[in-house]
């Protein structure tokens, strides 16, 4: 399958502290790939580097065959790379609908955008109900849906999500993961960072385990779920 995202020897540091120390990672068309690891292992740093929010020290990022290592974040969105960031970063002071429309900033043609908007309302009916409300008044689960829908408004080729389950009730988390699986079935490639390794491995095709800024294990989600080291450290089985 064709390569969508290729990360090679990625190094990144925060004020002198090495957060990533040479990461290799790939996402191919049609895949869900997840990154699992403990707090501070470098998962979020990795997504921030890929989306262009944080400059890269060394190494390269290629997306759809183009070198993206030093492109502006906005430029990467235009190329089809969307991040649904940690903490959701919804625009609290604008309406739900405006949040969504701003998600389509890089696209042209109001009719096509309107159509995507309707698709998002179908996928997340709660957002249709809340359409004219300020985004800051939404519940946590609704905000997560808004953040996902907003990322999808750009019609990305790769959707990256950072901790979509964080702080949400199990039922809502289940709903969100069902939707991710559905999106993937429709052809969306997904790169998922998730603390809940159970859930993540369940819907993923492949997975990478990050420890202290390095990939220590990688393979198919099935293999990793069966690996005793993963079971012990991330799945809570002994």
């Amino acid at each position: 399958m064709s390569l969508i995202l290729g990360i090679d020897d990625l190094h990144l540091s925060y004020g002198g502290i090495q957060a990533l120390r040479g990461i290799h990672l790939e996402v191919r068309a049609g895949e869900i790939v997840c990154l699992i690891g403990a707090n501070g292992a470098g998962k979020t740093s990795c997504l921030r580097a890929i989306s262009g929010l944080h400059p890269v020290h060394r190494g390269s990022i290629s997306f759809l065959g183009r070198d993206c290592t030093h492109r502006e974040a906005a430029e990467r969105v235009r190329l089809g790379l969307a991040l649904c960031p940690e903490g959701r970063m919804i625009l609290a002071q604008q309406s739900v609908e405006d949040n969504l429309k701003l998600g389509a900033w890089t696209r042209h043609g109001s009719r096509a955008i309107e159509q995507t908007l309707q698709e998002m309302f179908e996928l997340f009916p709660r957002l249709l109900e809340r359409r004219h409300q300020l985004a800051g008044t939404l519940s946590g689960g609704e905000q997560q849906m808004l953040a996902m829908a907003r990322a999808l408004m750009a019609k990305p080729r790769l959707l990256m999500l950072d901790e979509p389950s964080l702080g949400l009730a199990p039922l809502i988390v289940q709903d969100i993961f069902t939707k991710l699986a559905w999106l993937n079935k429709e052809g969306m490639a997904i790169l998922l960072v998730e603390q809940n390794a159970h859930l993540a491995l369940e819907i993923s095709h492949r997975a990478y385990v990050l420890e202290n800024g390095l990939v220590t294990l990688s393979g198919s989600a099935q293999e990793l779920s069966g690996d005793p080291r993963v079971q012990e450290a991330y799945l809570g089985r002994t």
Binding site: A73, A74, M89, W105
Partner: protein, 306 residues
């Protein structure tokens, strides 16, 4: 009473026009652009020169060219020039600091420095004498209209008309256009905005251009209505604009408008015999509002930006 209202709205709407430039930059960067008043002065001088054909007068010898533009066109060219000037200002005094995650105080120094540079450039070129618009430049408006005991200078109507129309357009632009929503997105969370594909550096640049054009328009209107008492009047006006946004609420376009109109009305309410106390009344109002509502009339309580 009606006379006061009219005079107040007239000057207040120009304050508002000017202060919007501060508010926009503040909403994006959380800092004050102290060169805004200097851009205002450049706009005033440029319109004066373009419409009268008179250049220089300072160390640069005075020179009268036969080429001159009608007032409208002069104002427009001057606004465009000041838009470019403000974009340059952003590149020189703001963008490098933003890249280094500078503190508010450092922006203050760099923008103030740029402003002082501009003012002294004007001083060098034009000298410190007062410049007046010739009556024939503004001959398209009647000098004085009397209506039911109300005295209105034609220029006042011009100022009021131009600035009120501009204010309405600006409000509509920021409420309803995608560009306005994008700008508000950058103001609320630059990282979130860039993740949506909004080119943050370009939005910064365009915002400066827009506020530069507004400063020039305000400068043109004030100069046409009164005079240009010397290059430093921009910095003084700049302080007044600062009072306006503190009054209305920092970083809010609507706050700048309300604050501007209010300050204008208060100043106009000062009787002519005490006109020396005009500024005092304005700043007393500012103190009063700050005591009761530190975030300004329409402001939201500020959270730390950095």
């Amino acid at each position: 009473m009606l006379q006061i209202l009219l005079n107040g709205l007239c000057i207040g709407s120009v304050y508002a026009l000017f202060a919007i430039g501060y508010a926009l930059v503040f909403s994006l960067l959380g800092v004050i652009n102290f060169a805004h008043g200097a851009v205002f002065a450049v706009g005033a001088y440029l319109t004066w020169s373009l419409s009268s054909g008179t250049w220089g007068g300072g160390l640069w010898p005075a020179y009268t060219s036969s080429f001159h533009l009608p007032f409208w066109q002069a104002a427009l060219v001057s606004a465009l020039f000041c838009a470019l000037l403000a974009m340059g200002l952003e590149k020189v005094a703001f963008a490098p600091l933003r890249k280094r995650h500078a503190e508010a105080l450092q922006y203050l120094v760099s923008s103030l420095g740029f402003g002082i540079f501009l003012v002294n450039l004007l001083l060098l070129f034009y000298g410190a004498e007062t410049k007046n618009f010739d009556l024939d430049i503004l001959s398209f408006v009647p000098p004085l209209i009397e209506w039911n005991g109300l005295f209105v200078r034609g220029v006042q109507l011009l100022i009021l008309g131009v600035s009120l129309i501009s204010l309405l357009l600006i409000l509509a632009l920021f409420r309803f256009s995608m560009a306005g929503k994008g700008l508000r997105a950058v103001a609320e969370n630059p990282q979130a905005a860039s993740l949506l594909g909004i080119p943050v550096p370009r939005i910064m640049s365009l915002t400066f251009a827009f506020s530069g054009a507004l400063a020039s328009l305000a400068g043109t209107l004030i100069a046409a209505g009164f005079s240009i008492p010397g290059p430093h009047f921009g910095m003084l006006f700049g302080l007044k604009g600062l009072a306006v946004i503190v009054l209305g609420g920092m970083g809010e376009v609507s706050g700048a408008i309300v604050g501007g109109l209010l300050l204008g009305l208060m100043e106009a309410a000062v009787p002519a015999d005490y006109s020396g106390y005009k500024e005092a009344v304005g700043f007393a109002l500012l103190f009063g509002v700050l005591l009761l509502r530190p975030e300004g009339l329409l402001g939201r309580p500020q959270k730390e930006k950095f």
